[in-house]
Amino acid sequence: MRSDAIEVTGLTKSYGDLAVLHGLDLTVPTGTVYALLGPNGSGKTTTVRILSTLLAPDAGQAVVAGYDVARDPDGVRRSIGVTGQFSAIDELLTGRENLRLMADLAHLPKQDAAARVDELLVRFDLTEAADRRAATYSGGMKRRLDLAMTLVSRPRLIFLDEPTTGLDPRSRRDLWEIVRELLADGVTIFLTTQYLEEADQLAHTVGLLDGGRLVAEGTPAELKAQAGGATLDEVFLALTGHPVTTEEKETVR
């Protein structure tokens, strides 16, 4: 058993002239939560897409769950679960059918598949809505179904790309609770977020990403001590000269 779930060295990616990642290095120990915190456009989603085999880096190396993403993408895919920023559910199918689809694609034996689907429906509080089309679900329910689909194959490493963006406070807290339960089961979690509170609440290690570079990395307490701030917000401001949440407005303008 390797001690690190993710080892990234010198990861670089550009889209044409636009450099998105400049030599990213990071390590995520197995069984911990790593939060990549940064504004829109800082390279968070690109990092997740590379680590989850959706995108090839221009340079650098990434070893995920012991497999090199470039050389053995199928090895990586057998070990991970991904819940992206955009809902990845089939809205024409019911919640149960969505989960069953994942169970069939994970090649679970028939009886195990049915049991696993029922178990997840209960765990994600979707039993009543199980036989309704996913199109009729609320935003919070869709996100829960999305995550439940990711968990069908019992991955030991889960990527959550902005898992609570657009959710109401209650749904957000529910999702945090699920992350804590997964962690208690020994699952490693790599999440990206724009919410400082989220990183503060969940993460063992926080990486502050700005303009495709990791500007600081450590436990929330270490980072606060290092930059002399009381909140991660102040830490981010002290290290980058701008707050996490204004970037969106700037790009809109």
Partner: protein, 262 residues
């Protein structure tokens, strides 16, 4: 299990998913069948009397029905293929395609699932349209070999047009574009021997009509359903279908590797 077994199993899973979509979204499926049926009625009852008289040897509405029924079956195949482009584009622009691509499943299964579903839908649509034609008085006059030939050539055509539409659907980048780009498939049969004999067209147009893929395909189908030997048309038809299938299969696979949701 071997890689091949997994590929077959994943394709079957995707087929089930796509068949469910067709049941859940019945308006599109009904449209696909209604369109060729409307064409059939229009050409038999509105144009049929006049066009029948123009057939070699002259004839009436019934002769034109016998001439055009195979063409309507071909239009049915094209019509179902068209919808595949829409289904594919819808899949490729939604988040679920990224989910599939981060799973350890056979890469080809997403596309083969769509193609298999299209073939099932084609079989149903062709059966319904043929039944309507028979109700209107169409009586194919052929034996077992002719029927086998007709089913075979329709299956090859369905495979070719479906892979073409899979590629067009992936290339489209949006559902709207995907519903427009393959429209030429509905128009091309008009510039072929499908609705009128090609020698009734002006010389330049007749040359195009005689040398485009739909003409040997429709002539083969017509010969099979009339119990005649299609002769060289059969080999041209098979050749065209094979070439289109192989080229579009390769094109679709390359496009699929580049797809990214949203």
């Amino acid at each position: 299990m071997s890689t091949m077994t997994y590929a077959a199993r994943d394709s079957a899973t995707m087929l089930r998913r796509n068949l469910r979509h067709m049941v859940r979204y019945p308006s599109l499926t009904l449209m696909l069948i209604a369109q060729p049926v409307l064409f059939l009625m229009l050409f038999v009852y509105v144009f049929g009397g006049t066009l029948g008289a123009g057939l070699p040897g002259g004839g009436g509405r019934e002769d034109y029905l016998a001439y055009i029924a195979p063409a309507i079956l071909l239009i049915t195949v094209a019509s179902v293929a068209l919808s595949t482009a829409i289904h594919i584009a819808k899949d490729a622009t939604e988040g679920i395609i990224d989910r599939f691509r981060t799973m350890p499943i056979a890469k080809s299964s997403v596309l083969t699932g769509h193609v298999l579903a299209a073939l099932v839908q084609t079989a149903v649509a062709v059966a319904v349209v043929l039944a309507v034609a028979v109700l209107l008085g169409y009586r194919p006059d052929t034996g077992v070999a002719g029927w086998l030939g007709a089913v075979g050539i329709l299956a090859l055509l369905a495979l070719a047009l479906t892979w073409l539409c899979v590629a067009l659907g992936l290339a489209a980048g949006s559902v709207e574009t995907a519903s427009n780009t393959p429209m030429f498939l509905m128009l091309l049969p008009f510039i072929s021997s499908a609705f009128v004999p090609t020698d009734s067209m002006p010389a330049g147009l007749a040359w195009i009509a005689e040398n485009q893929p739909f003409t040997p395909i429709i002539d083969t189908l017509r010969a099979c359903l009339e119990g005649r030997d299609p002769g060289a048309d059969l080999w041209w038809a098979i050749g065209w279908c094979a070439v289109i299938t192989v080229l579009c299969f390769g094109w679709a696979r390359r496009l699929f590797a580049r797809v990214r949701a949203v």
